[in-house]
Amino acid sequence: MTEEQMLAGTIKNNAAAQEALYDRYSPRMLAVCYRFAKSREDAEDMLQEGFIKIFTQLHQYRNEGALEGWIRRIIVHTCINVLKKNKKFSETVDLIHAHAFHTNEDMVPSIMQAKQVVECIRMLPLGYKTVLNLYAIEGYSHKEIGNMLDIEESTSRSQYTRAKAMLEEILVKKHIIDKSQYKNNYGKTNTIK
């Protein structure tokens, strides 16, 4: 089924077209949800809610830009809405406390680098990982993130800075990135204790 057929069928609420669209994009979108969610089950709930929105709003898609990008934006917004129901995004974790948080690193499964990186991101505190996901991976600006999460732009920046530092440290400890490449946010070379 071509993309045009899928789109037309989905707009007409055709189950086969919806399933084809779902089968094509759900693995990538579940990976997106998984980075935001606490667990796989939560991620699947987000995915489900996101796809309902996609199916019901697909008529608004104007073929401007890739369909995957449009779907991804809806999924990301769905994830944020779900998270906002449960948690305040002004939550921060000091780097001092974050060291203690690193004790879970060994739980990261060493299956493959992509999974390891994603699992490391998921180990971050909720506020950190949300901002990091949105800024570093999804490409939103701090201003957009501030609007999405109902926080100040400056808060988004500071959270991202801390999140990045924490993630770098985790990645180095897991030997996913090289020590020699490890630098903190201020451009200084850092040494691992």
């Binding site: 189950a15 759900s26 693995p27 991620a43 796809f51 309902i52 992509a114 994603v118 451009g187």
Partner: protein, 508 residues
């Protein structure tokens, strides 16, 4: 710049790895999605489930009867047929199934032929004990047995004819000839003749001795029933019968008795009827439909039994719970020691109230209906909290299907938990709907969903005040699974009730 480059590299590194990562969702997600997108297709599957459940229940009940009535009848007929073949070969007789004495039409229409040495003898009517004065006709040239036992077995379902004097039997253990003193003994072991005679219901044996006047010139001599001996002791007649039967015949009789033993009525044994009434307080959850909620900022949700519900803007609904009632009857069937399934029919009256303000004159309002041009209705009420009350009622009839699990195992008092699913038909309702801005109410019953699905969970204590009767009492929560309104109406209302179920159950 170095920092910017590094940051870009780091972000690129993260993005590449994150984008490379894939996860396959479980199939459950798609099924949930499908059900969300195509709610109308749930009903056929539910109907099929209901059909299957009914079929399984029916088959289960039928198969639980060790020998159903139909099977018993067939067995008796087959057996009669076999014996007829055997006996007629030997010029003796086996009578067809004995007919119920109480069945007048059968009694009048029954004629049974007895063949002795291939010459028919006629017994009219077959239920001889019912018409003692009626002669039994035996052909003039028939070589009759000196005494013949007609054994009425298994509640007068069959006759067995036998030469009483002839000890020798054929290989089947059945009589092979009659003696010639032209006497016919008919031994019955049914109860009705005695009942007729004495008015007692006690099982009795009946011996009828008939003699043949062989010198009569008529083609068929009349055998007049000479004597009726009612033996009040069943054991005596049993002994008499036993002594007169060969081992193989006894074996055959036992086998026959086994095959024709009264069927255990599982339905009566395990089934019961319960009648219940559940006064409850009813309320609702209220909000925008899910897909509307996700696309707009306006939300409304509420879960307590009274209070205000925030709508978009600063509007609020002021609703409160009201008394509801449920009345029903259910058939219960125990499938195991601790589990019983149940189904039945019940009626529900649901109600909750909105505190509103009456308008001086009707106002036209627009309803929040999707996928169509705006729908307008006349409103007499503002949703602003006031002194007027709107009763939001529905009258429903539903078919609960569910199960109870016995949590304790005592003689008199037991604790059960149960749950049901209730396909529901909404007979009528007030159908008050909110305007699109949440400011007014209008009655628009056409937006009410006609079919819905309710669920209930309950826990109750049962008490047996006397054998066969059980009283029950306990809390019940009933929840409506779909909105009261059709899909195109963008507000969603789901009713729920919390009540005390009172019931009585009687076994069959």
């Amino acid at each position: 710049m170095e920092d910017k480059n590094y940051r870009d590299d780091f972000e690129l590194f993260l993005k590449e790895n994150a984008d490379e990562f894939r996860m396959v969702p479980s199939r459950r997600v798609w099924y949930s999605l499908y059900n969300n997108m195509h709610p109308d297709r749930r009903w056929p599957s539910m109907a099929v489930c209901l059909l299957i459940l009914t079929a399984v229940l029916y088959i289960g009940i039928e198969n639980n009867n060790s020998l159903s009535n139909a099977a018993q009848k067939n067995a008796a007929e087959n057996f009669t047929s076999n014996l007829n073949n055997n006996l007629s070969d030997k010029n003796t007789t086996f009578l067809p199934p004995f007919l119920d004495n109480k069945n007048e039409s059968r009694k009048q229409n029954t004629t049974t032929t007895i063949t002795l040495n291939n010459i028919p003898a006629i017994v009219e009517p077959i239920n001889t004990f019912d018409a003692i004065e009626t002669p039994i006709s035996i052909p003039q040239d028939a070589a009759l047995a000196s005494s013949t036992i007609i054994n009425i077995e298994n509640n007068r379902s069959n006759f067995l004819a036998r030469d009483n004097n002839n000890v020798a039997s054929n290989e089947n253990g059945l009589p092979n000839k009659f003696s010639t003193d032209n006497k016919l003994n008919i031994v019955g072991s049914n109860s009705f003749a005695e009942e007729r005679k004495t008015g007692k219901s006690e099982n009795s044996s009946l011996v009828i001795i008939a003699a043949n006047n062989s010198n009569n010139n008529n083609q068929h001599d009349s055998l007049v029933i000479e004597n009726i001996v009612a033996k009040n002791s069943k054991n005596d007649s049993d002994k008499e019968l036993k002594n007169s039967l060969s081992d193989i015949e006894k074996s055959w009789k036992e086998d026959y008795a086994f095959r024709n033993k009264p069927a255990i009525n599982r339905l009566k044994q395990n089934g019961s009827m319960s009648y219940y009434i559940t006064p409850s307080i009813g309320y609702r959850t209220f909000g925008k439909r899910d897909y509307v909620k996700r696309t707009s900022a306006s939300t409304a949700s509420f879960n307590n039994f009274s209070g205000t519900t925030a709508l978009s803007g600063d509007r609020k609904l002021d609703d409160e719970a009201a008394l509801n009632l449920e009345i029903g009857a259910a058939f219960q069937y125990s499938v195991s020691k601790n589990v019983r399934i149940k189904t039945g029919i019940q009626g529900n009256y649901t109600n909750y109230m909105s505190n509103v303000t009456s308008l001086g004159h009707p106002t036209q309002i627009a309803l929040d209906v999707s996928n169509s041009s705006p729908v307008y209705a006349a409103s007499n009420y503002s949703s602003t909290s006031g002194s007027s009350k709107l009763n939001k009622t529905t009258l429903q009839v539903s078919v609960p299907i569910g199960a109870d699990v016995k949590m304790t195992n005592h003689d008199k008092v037991n604790w059960y938990v149960g749950a049901t699913l209730q396909p529901t038909y909404i007979i009528k309702g007030s159908g008050y709907v909110l305007s699109s801005d949440g400011g007014n109410y209008a009655s628009e019953p056409s937006l009410l969903r006609k079919l819905n699905l309710n669920s209930s969970i309950e826990s109750f204590i049962s008490f047996k005040p006397s054998p066969g009767v059980t009283m029950m009492v306990g809390p019940q929560l009933r929840y409506q699974l779909f909105s009261s309104f059709k899909n195109q109406y963008n507000y969603s209302e789901k009713l729920y009730n919390l009540g005390i179920k009172l019931g009585i159950s009687t076994s069959f």
